[in-house]
Amino acid sequence: MLDQPQLPVAQRTNPERSFKEEVRALRLGEGEIFRGEGILAVTKAILQAGVSYVGGYQGAPVSHLVDVLVESQDLLDELGVHLETCTNEASAAALLGASINYPIRGCVTWKSIVGTNVAADALSNLASPGVIGGALIVVGEDYGEGASVIQERTQAYALKSSVWLMDPRPSLPTIVHCTEKAFEFSEATNTPVMMELRIRACHVTGEFMAKDNKPPAISRNARLAEPAAHNYDRISHPPSTYAHEKLKVEVRQPAAERFIVEQGLNEFFAGDRSDLGIIVQGGITNVLMRGLDRLEVEGKIPTLVLNVTHPLVPDQIADFCKSKRAVLIVEEGSPDYIEQAIHVLLRKRDIGTKIYGKDVLPMAGEYTAEVVTEGLLKFLTLSANDIDLSAPRARFEAARAGRAEAQKMLGGPLPLRPPGFCVGCPERPVFSAIKLLEREVGKVHISSDIGCHSFATLAPFNLGNSILGFGMSLAAAGAVAPVMQKRTISVMGDGGFWHNGLLSGVASSMFNRGDRVLVIMQNGYTSATGAQFIPNTSGNRRDGETTSDIAATLKAMGVKWLRTIRTYNVATMLGSLREAMNTKEPGLKVIVADGECQLARQRRVRPQIAAQLKRGERVVRTRYGVDDEVCTGDHSCIRLSGCPSLVVKPSPDPLRTDPVASVNNGCVGCGLCGEVADAAVLCPSFYEADIVQNATWWDRLVWRIRSSVIGALAHG
């Protein structure tokens, strides 16, 4: 089994990847060419805009913003920029409170919609008094293919809190320009600005002309002598809040509309068909343009690109629409806030332009190339029957028919390839143990959470009844446990524990004397988002000291039944789960399942081992294997583990047809397959092989003696 001692402090460095190239890109000066991805361009742009502070909570697709800055501490120190790696999005949103009283620029980032939900309270309280220093929130709009969260729109928050929302066209110069302008926009309107970037926009590659980074006037390096004077107007508390509400609509929004027009934030693409028009969210522009190109009408239809989707500028929209017969609104997701708003503003001005939108495009789902092309075809057919679309329509239909034919040829849906636990993941054994527990006690209600462990809801474990948000699994069992004969099991990661679970879950369960079981995956990082540090990571990035210990925290909270167990030991894990389910002891029962993220561990130990081997030191490499002659091809081992390195291969037995299990070379020797075979009494096929590299003379001597005796004893 994997020998994985707790690491000495400060040996765990950020394991996800090294950002050397990215860090270099952040140092580019005036006139140099920046090359890289969208989210890195945003990171460069905020430094060019002179931010004093940056914060955020990790989550795809925007994790890189903070990750890269963590690696750029030298640069931040030179500029005087403060970086806060927040423990959740509410904490990040509250960080922007610095710009309420002080003329300093700040930027925070998180994944939306989920992060915005968490941040919502602070966001409301930020938006109400407003800001005097530019406040930018970069949200990763996790929508469509590749998204990992519920499908909702950030737009709702912008509307209800009167926060401006930018949705820049995905091209690096535009994204950078919008980022820089966002701070001015925020300051000119005393309003925080959100900028949403979809997954593909975050990862889009491109170039732009860099500028020098700007050291902020007020910063860590240039501190203020005195705090801001007390001003009750700046506090979001009545009666100020009544005044704030009026300010939002009477002063800030008109200012925003003026700024958008004066600065030309929205773009206008001309076209010769003055009777037609398209209004599109900036982020969808590329899909739209390709669709027009495909229908051979590119450059023909005037298009208004909304790089700012809230607020809309009524005059701008009305001017664009009024001389046109028909306008299509390309707005992804539901509800159709923009389309509704445009209908209202045209109606109020008695402009009779026919508006198309969600009637020719779908209300829900990602606006892919195919969806948009189909919508355009419908729009043009209904509004401009003088355009001959027969050739492009035929091509489009042929592609669709071809796909149907291909699908028929392939014969039904292809096997899915869902994400799952990595090779050697310390979380997998816990679910193996839960599966074995269910063999004994029957099905158990399992409250799942956000994190790598949510993959247990997929094949081959198929464990989990609900997911209620990050760190919510214990709270989500609150009303299930009292109506259930068997105890419920809530699974939570250490990331979720610090994000929300400690208070929403543990404190609440303790307070209500809940009789539930909680398993905390203590792997030391928020692994699903790229192994960022959290309070229990052994080694804070600043001083190498561990900040907070989970078990100690739980004890302080009054948890009585508490076990910390090495995850790879399936039998012990199973025993503890059994005990937690059956003990007479009332109250919350917590199992801390301890094992470092294997991805992080491998990144750390691989170079160390390579160095040891190079120095000629003795290194034992452990991996597991399956005797193909003993395996009968039932694959129980795979159903109980799902390890990617546990694969199948054709049976070498001429008399058997079912493929047999096999361990491939991705094996890191965690030993789970052997442990599971043992705990579940599966079969005697598994073996552990310890390969002695740089063997000593003693190793070789013993080996030689043993080999000769064994050779004589062997048969066959």
Binding site: D634, D690, H715
Partner: protein, 480 residues
Amino acid sequence: MSKSINILVGALGGDGGGVLCDWIVAAAQAQGLGVQATQIPGVAQRTGATTYYLEVMPAVGPRPTVLALNPAIGEVDVALATELLEAGRMIFNGFVTPDRTVLIASTHRVLSIGERAAMGDGSFDVGRLLRAVKERSKTQILFDMDQAAEESGGVINAVLLGALAGSGKLPIPDAAFEAAIREGGKSVDTNLAAFAFGRGHARGELEQAVREHRKRQSAVQGAEDLIERARKDFPVASLDIVEEGIRRLVAYQDRGYAALYLDRLKDIDPALVRDVARHLAVRMSFEDVIRVAQAKTSRERLERVRAEVRAKPHEPVEITEHFKPGNEEIAALLPPAAARWLMARPKFNISMHVRSTTIWGFARLRFLAGLRWWRPHSHRFVEEQAEIERWLQAIRSAQVLSPDLAREIAELARLVKGYGDTYARGLGNYRRISDEVIAPALAGRLAPPKAADAVANARVAALADPEGESLSRTLAAIAA
């Protein structure tokens, strides 16, 4: 303005699809070509499918205001896949089309979790994938890139880059791709080697040896006369199986046992001999502790393990076997009366980690393997023989009624395999189907053609899920 060359990449997490895109982007930029890439990278984990999309301008010059971020059906010029099912997925989604798309894909399979977890063979039909790959794309560059990566000592993404260069579809010279690899700075030598391999394959300069999965024959002396006898008694088309059965059973037990095997096959319909012989040999060489010990102490085994774990010739390897025998395994070796007594005791299992590369550990296993002489007196042996006879009797009765039914009964033996709970579950399912479908059919209460279908359906259902839910449903439907 000229149109972009659109490239779609389908990969698995960990294949290095992101790095592949970086290389293409860097090489295109070095040529002064307009280029844009984006990706749906999936989560940080190293399993799920990932996709990348790139657009490259065919020549230096003005580029469109925007390049697209999403692939469009029917608008992909080059599709790259690091694995065959992912190539199939791009076809399934309509991105690969016969009028336009050059498909560059590896032919190897990495089975998805659903395919691996099946209780028998759950892998998707490769023939279908290959047919779609060939018929639904314009031209193809197909070879086993996993193997090429291994042969070159590099990673699959560099092989794929080489194949892309070799396809000549991009206006980018080889040197620019190579420069991009060098600039990347990581594992430059092996990546360049892999690149050259990929390019060579794409240009037809390299031939790939087909990696075959060899079946291993049992090696045994002294069975020649039995084989001779089989050649006289059985159809030629069944002989490879029957001969392997003989060799297997001589090694497993002795010549007498192999002779019994031939006797048992004697009155089987010649058309069924091949199928029955295959299952009968497997059933007669059932997996008991002695057989496991035999397998683990055979002469070739250590070399096989060394090769599998890639130990270098001078590196010592220590092997630890994971066993967990319990009363079932022990009882299996005892005489029937003692076995029944032990089986009535509470169930127990003992974890044993035996280091079979030590003299003591190996000697213990060798001792168990040496108990072969005792096997015919063991409880398990007696039980198995009775079970086998009942099964053969059912086949003999059925072959008169319908060869299809007899074949399905023979095939049902697939359910009985494995160890411990797996074995118990398989045998339980087998008996349920015997009692609820085969018995009524042989008693004339179910029409033979219908019965053959019913047995086949029940077998598939028994292999559908370990909980037996599908089987219960299927049996209920048959009874109704």
